[in-house]
Symmetry: C2
Subunit: 371 residues, 2 copies
């Protein structure tokens, strides 16, 4: 039996895909779908979020984005939902906008760079941007449309995954995995905390433990994963202000706005190296509000419905750790940093045995001393 | 019997003072201490908040501030608290700071004006301000110390009032007063909503109804009271950042910071004419954060523990309506706008029969058509 530690979007997706293959699986999490996946905006935007140094991450993202429509359709069917639109999966693209001459030049370079990677995007004037998104600030001077980029509501995805697991009879143990059980050099299960209680066993034995505990992974095994704090805000609008994702760089920090069909507008996100700190701070909230106003002045009138901080699992090279750990009995599916939602379908495929260059890029073997 | 409609700081104070005098009193409110009194910062700062056109309001405020120490001491004793410090009543004064030359000149004028009113204040240089409050922004160029101004925690005050009412056996009816009962030209009680239920009577008969329903008063009688929305924020600090109240004008809007002994820092408040709208908005929150950062940059690191909007009961001349309404059986204690906490002791004295110039200033008779 596989035991998956961690009930975020990655762990839940894995449990669901393993169960679909008929493999026995148990998932352990004291509060599934309450961490980074609950905070996340759900951008599936590998192209518009690319940076020059991260071509491998771009390739992983593009490969996983291609898997999303089928993943969503199968998940919706398995969860008993009418269709993938119940997950708010949308593909109107991301519009990356610029205010200053410097930023415009950077968009030109980025467009040329993406063309060379055979990922065509469309350069737009400020007027063309506002034709697409009339609520954009008049000061927007140009943009880049990544027409293939998509987004989804992560809360609907994790709710659907929990429903699908339930329908397939997967055991969900609502407890904390306190430590890995080891026998010689082999991982043989997990010890639960608190032990026993509620008729629960104190230990779960497993042929394989898959560590999908996100930012908390380093508490269970020697993995190079650290928490990267993100503060994110949800606004409520009577009708949607935007028809697609909009991102831009304001005062040197990137900000994005993700519109939902029901009028919710997600504004994210800070990136802070603060350890296990999930406080919403005056400074973080100030930056989100300031930058969102700069992009779309009309947000001023919207209600602030939620502000939350989550912890992304960062790795030294910003690539996830997926596959056998090197320690017998222990596999990894962690370190997804900002890409947990985007990379969930690909992660499951790799854990289910997909090989090749993409799997190799994510191999934990690239780091030493994992155990 | 008196029936008081409204369980904010004004209605609760009245009920307590009437009960202390041995008069039978019942208070009606579906959710006492949950409206403007719950949102309020609790500044007792008539001097630093003065504006040139509002000398009557200044005089009311100064008179009520003088009553606060005795009010707090008696309330604490009656509520079974160890002493008035349990209400966080503090009197270190308010520091009004200025950034620009214009603002400095305005402080000079204000100081001269207050001297003429025999309310001496102290003009300080920027350096003197920072000596008093080291966390102030380096850009603060001068200030005005109103040494007599005080502040209190309104939530502790209303909790103490509820405890004191309970100890004195005052009946608290947790229902909404739907309308006033009238017999000919006379008010004879209130009709409760929903009627009956929980063994509650559908009506309460009264010799006198005292309307203390704040922003909701105009729903029960013809009084010139309107809601003035205020958004206010609470930050949490490991230790207090300030030792006294600090206020200033940033980008043309006044902002104040009120420190509590436990490290809480209250930042307020917007003033918006939005009707009965209690949404926390992106624009309101943005202004509070921006202005607080401008005054005290260190707030950036603090946790945002609460954001709430309340509705102040505004009147055409910014003075409260206290006393007989002109309609037999109906008295008023409403329209306190930004001064409910400050003016609560004076309001009770006037309703208990204090006469003279202060009572005359608050007389509802100054407006026509109250009924």
């Amino acid at each position: 039996m596989d035991v998956i530690v961690g009930g975020g979007v990655v762990g839940l997706s894995l449990a669901w895909r393993l169960a679909r293959e008929g493999r026995p699986v148990t998932l352990v999490d004291p509060a599934p779908a309450s961490g980074a996946s609950h905070a996340a905006a759900g951008m599936l935007a590998p192209v518009s979020e690319v940076t020059y140094t991260e071509v491998p991450l771009l390739r992983l993202g593009v490969a996983s984005l291609r898997r999303w429509p089928a993943f969503a359709a199968e998940l919706a069917a398995d969860a008993g939902l009418p269709g993938p639109e119940a997950l708010d999966l949308r593909s109107e693209g991301t519009l990356d906008v610029a205010f200053a001459a410097d930023d415009l030049a950077a968009l030109d370079e980025l467009a040329a760079y993406l063309e060379r990677l055979e990922l065509p995007v469309q350069r737009l004037t400020g007027r063309e941007c506002r034709r697409l998104e009339p609520m954009l600030a008049p000061s927007v001077r140009g943009g880049l449309l990544a027409a293939g980029d998509s987004w989804v509501d992560p809360r609907r995805v994790t709710a659907a995954l929990l429903a699908a697991l339930d329908r397939r009879g997967v055991q969900l143990v609502r407890a904390r995995a306190g430590e890995l059980l080891r026998d010689g050099g082999q991982v043989t299960g997990v010890r639960l905390e608190p032990p026993g209680g509620d008729g629960r066993p104190a230990e779960l034995r497993a042929e394989r433990v898959i560590l999908a505990a996100g930012a908390w992974s380093a508490g269970l095994a020697e993995v190079p994963v650290r928490p990267v704090k993100g503060q994110i805000m949800r606004l409520r609008s009577p009708q949607p202000l935007l028809t697609r994702c909009v991102r831009g760089t304001v005062h040197g920090t990137p900000v994005y706005l993700v519109p939902r069909g029901d009028g919710e507008l997600v504004v994210g996100a800070t990136q802070e190296e603060m350890g296990f700190d999930t406080r919403v701070t005056a400074g973080g909230l100030y930056e989100l509000l300031r930058d969102a106003r700069e992009l779309v002045p009309g947000v001023t009138e919207l209600e602030v419905s939620e502000v939350v901080a989550g912890l992304r699992p960062g790795t030294p090279d910003n690539l996830p750790l997926i596959g056998p750990s090197g320690t017998p009995g222990l596999a990894l599916a962690t370190g997804h940093h900002r890409g947990g939602v985007l990379l969930a379908p690909l992660t499951a495929d790799i854990l289910l045995g997909e090989e090749g260059e993409l799997a190799a890029m994510c191999s934990p073997g690239r780091f030493r001393d994992i155990s």
